[in-house]
């Protein structure tokens, strides 16, 4: 990616000290389950890499168009899994898909290069987002496991890929996919990653793109890092200039022949150029060419792909498109490499533009494309599409865990797919700019690889804790990170612990560790049956009938408190481990909670003298008033600080 390394603070001296001196660091392999790999990308250049680790058991699966030489010392593994897909959907059509690890979609090349791509100077998408592209962990190795095909990603294939990846010897797993919301024992990703965690493998998954609806996340098992998406400080601005002289901002990655700067083009609303009830959405075949030809068309967002709407306008003879967000998308601007002069505008802007169109007899407009702009403030802002809490599978565990860059991300792309993904798009480019929690997930996978390289002895839970407790939830000014759909301060349901800060995560001070025993006790707390737990854990495990299990006993780096109807007191215990070679005295502070709740941390001071030392504390939450009604929520934060480190945990209280 370009820009996100700088945005995450990875391009400074700290990174050179910590991360890029590869010879001093452990070899780390990131396994990516996705649509495969386009191995010819420069992002998989293996210059400077030593021999493949002798412990590596992966292979480069030779198949049509994919040779042993497709892999190298950077791309050390490539397999494909299609038996489940073909059993359900029929044999793969060789003319449309490659029965090999080769990526004909682009998504898999994008995610794997975001996590681990080697440095590629002079990268851009048609001049947009220029710079040196690199993954978050450019010195890490990568192994790809193709599990997603044009018809989807099937659980039997995913489980087979996880089975192989763990056996091959990956250290980090990155899955930018999801399958709805189900109990963990029925969720293949949760089942497979449980075993991965047990073997010391960090698992990062995308939270989903079903935001901003509440309770819309997938991949919420507590042993998984669930990653939401935010913007970075980069935009691709356009001006929509109207015939009345007014000028509105939008965003676009259009790179073809430009329109003239004066608003001389006829401008119409798609809803007035159609006989279809949903014609305003510019669905295929709904626009009347006689009404559209030679004009700029304003389409409403929804149902069909954004770039597809541009194609529909173009096919009907339109010369440009303005795409207005729905209220759900708010003012979020996602850049698209449209096939005609097209631009996205926010919902409010769209309403203003529509008001102009409806108010004059001959509305006119033009679109002025302004390229790439950096330094956009505020950033990050939580993406509207990023799935939100609360966690509907286990309400006692706060999710998402954190957010990372996921809007307008440039990374590697397939050599046989245009940047819009449309069959009519004949353009080919080694990089593409796309958005989604699919894009934020591999950022965290790469950051986890950096941490694993620097701290090979850290458990997956320790790495996740380091990333979460050092994440930030305010801008430098001290005000809270915003959510783009509301324009208001984001809550832990939007951002979890906050936005990743890898440099701080290198030295988190304290970590909240967890192991398989903790997760087994957690499954007991969920009242899973012995058969369900045995299926998940692959061992003969019985919950003790002499023990009381509680979800809140899990040593999670965040707090979720569910008060009973009667109010009262809820006490939770946590254990922190000192990971600094020097000792320190940490003091607790709780901030942000509103409402009549008394919070007491005992002890309020923790003193450490050596690395690896563990200390426990309890947090008591006591309702002191009764003004809260059932279902209401309050958020706050607990921070432990020794003056050098801040170990932060979000708190959510629900009545």
């Amino acid at each position: 990616t370009t820009r996100t390394p700088e945005f995450l603070g990875l391009m400074g001296e700290e990174e050179r000290d910590y991360f890029l001196q590869s010879n001093k660091k452990a070899d780390v392999v990131v396994g990516v389950l996705d649509t495969g790999v386009w191995p010819e990308l420069k992002s998989y250049d293996d210059e400077g890499f030593g021999p493949v680790p002798s412990t590596w058991k992966g292979i480069c699966q030779v198949s049509k168009g994919f040779n042993a030489s497709s892999c190298n010392r950077k791309l050390i593994g490539a397999r494909f899994f299609s038996k489940g897909y073909e059993a359900s959907m029929g044999m793969i059509d060789d003319s449309k898909e490659e029965r090999s690890p080769r990526d004909v979609d682009g998504h898999g090349s994008h995610t794997s290069t975001t996590a681990t791509g080697s440095l590629v100077p002079g990268a851009s998408l048609f001049g947009f987002a220029p710079g040196t592209a690199r993954g978050m962990a450019p010195r890490a190795r990568v192994a790809v496991y193709k599990v997603c095909w044009t018809g989807g990603c099937f659980s039997s294939d995913i489980l087979a890929a996880l089975d192989k990846a763990v056996n091959d010897g990956v250290n980090v797993l990155s899955l930018s996919l999801g399958g709805g919301q189900s109990d963990y024992y029925k969720d293949t990703v949760a089942v497979g990653s449980f075993a991965a965690i047990e073997k010391g493998i960090f698992v990062s998954c995308s939270a989903g793109n079903a935001g901003p609806a509440p309770g819309s996340m997938s991949n919420v098992a507590p042993w998984i890092a669930t990653v939401g998406a935010g913007t970075i400080d980069r935009d691709f601005p356009v001006f929509i200039v109207l015939g009345n002289g007014k000028n509105y901002s939008g965003s676009s990655l259009y790179s073809g022949k430009k329109l003239v700067d004066t608003p001389k083009y006829d401008f119409i609303y798609a809803g007035n150029a159609t006989n279809a009830t949903n014609g305003n959405l510019c669905m295929a075949g709904t626009l009347i060419p006689e009404k559209v030809a030679g004009k700029i068309v304003l389409c409403d967002r929804g149902i069909s792909a954004r770039v597809k709407k541009g194609q529909v306008v173009k096919d009907a003879g339109g010369i440009g498109m303005v795409l207005a967000n729905s209220v759900k998308n708010g003012e979020e601007l996602v850049g698209d490499a449209h096939l005609l002069p097209g631009a996205a505008v926010g919902a409010k802007t769209g309403d203003l533009i529509k008001a102009y169109i409806f108010s004059v007899p001959n509305p006119k407009a033009t679109i002025i494309f302004r390229g790439t702009e950096v330094g956009i403030s505020p950033s990050p802002v939580v993406a509207a599409f990023s799935s939100r809490g609360p966690n509907v599978i286990t309400s006692g565990i706060l999710k998402p865990d954190l957010i990372a860059p996921g809007v307008n991300i440039l990374a590697g792309w397939s050599g046989v797919m245009g940047p819009t993904g449309l069959s009519t798009d004949t353009r080919r480019t080694p990089f593409n700019i796309i958005s989604g929690t699919s894009m934020s997930c591999p950022h965290v996978s790469g950051l986890a690889a950096l941490l694993k390289s620097a701290h090979p002895d850290w458990s997956p839970a320790a790495i996740k804790s380091a990333l979460m407790t050092t994440a930030y939830n305010t801008y430098k000014s001290g005000t809270g990170i915003l959510a783009v759909d509301t324009g208001k301060t984001a809550t832990p349901y939007d951002i979890g612990s906050g936005h990743a800060h890898p440099i701080r995560a290198m030295n988190p001070g304290l970590i909240y560790d967890m192991g398989v025993e903790d997760y087994l006790n957690f499954l007991c707390a969920l009242n899973y049956t012995e058969l369900q737990i045995t299926a998940m854990s692959r061992r003969n495990f019985t919950c003790s009938n002499k023990k009381t299990y509680s979800v809140s006993d899990l040593n999670y780096p965040s707090f979720t408190v569910e008060f009973p109807k009667t109010g009262g007191n809820v006490k939770q215990m946590r254990t922190v481990t000192n990971v600094e070679s020097t000792g320190g005295t940490y003091k607790a502070a709780v901030t942000g909670l509103k409402g009549k709740v008394n919070v007491v941390v005992e002890p309020s001071e923790l003193k450490f003298v050596k690395v690896g030392e563990k200390k426990s504390y309890t947090v008591s939450f006591t309702v002191t008033g009764n003004e809260k009604t059932s279902g209401s929520t309050s958020f706050g934060r607990l921070e432990w600080s020794d003056g050098n480190h801040v170990v932060g945990s979000p708190i959510s209280l629900t009545w």
């Binding site: 763990v166 089942v191 995308s206």
Partner: protein, 83 residues
């Protein structure tokens, strides 16, 4: 009416493998499957992150498989999507 076949993931308790199949878990999987279906075949055998296999069979066969010794869980195939 012939039942439509679907894909299922079958989890087994490896610690309950009969002595005769020690070290031959694939044979055990196959025998377990054949006890409920004459024609179903194993798509994948899992041995690292799960103990079991995936197969195409009818819902009736899936239900019957749940009663076979050592079978813990039979889960229908789920379609995941990219984010």
């Amino acid at each position: 009416v012939e039942e439509e076949r679907k894909t299922y993931i079958v989890h087994l308790a490896k610690h309950e493998i009969p002595a005769v199949y020690k070290g031959l878990h694939l044979d055990w999987y196959q025998t377990s499957l054949q006890s409920v279906s004459e024609s179903a075949e194993i798509l994948y055998a899992y041995d690292t992150v799960a103990h079991g296999f995936s197969t195409r069979m009818t819902p009736s066969e899936a239900e019957a498989l749940l009663a076979v010794n050592g079978v813990l869980q039979v889960t229908p195939e789920t379609r995941y999507h990219l984010h």
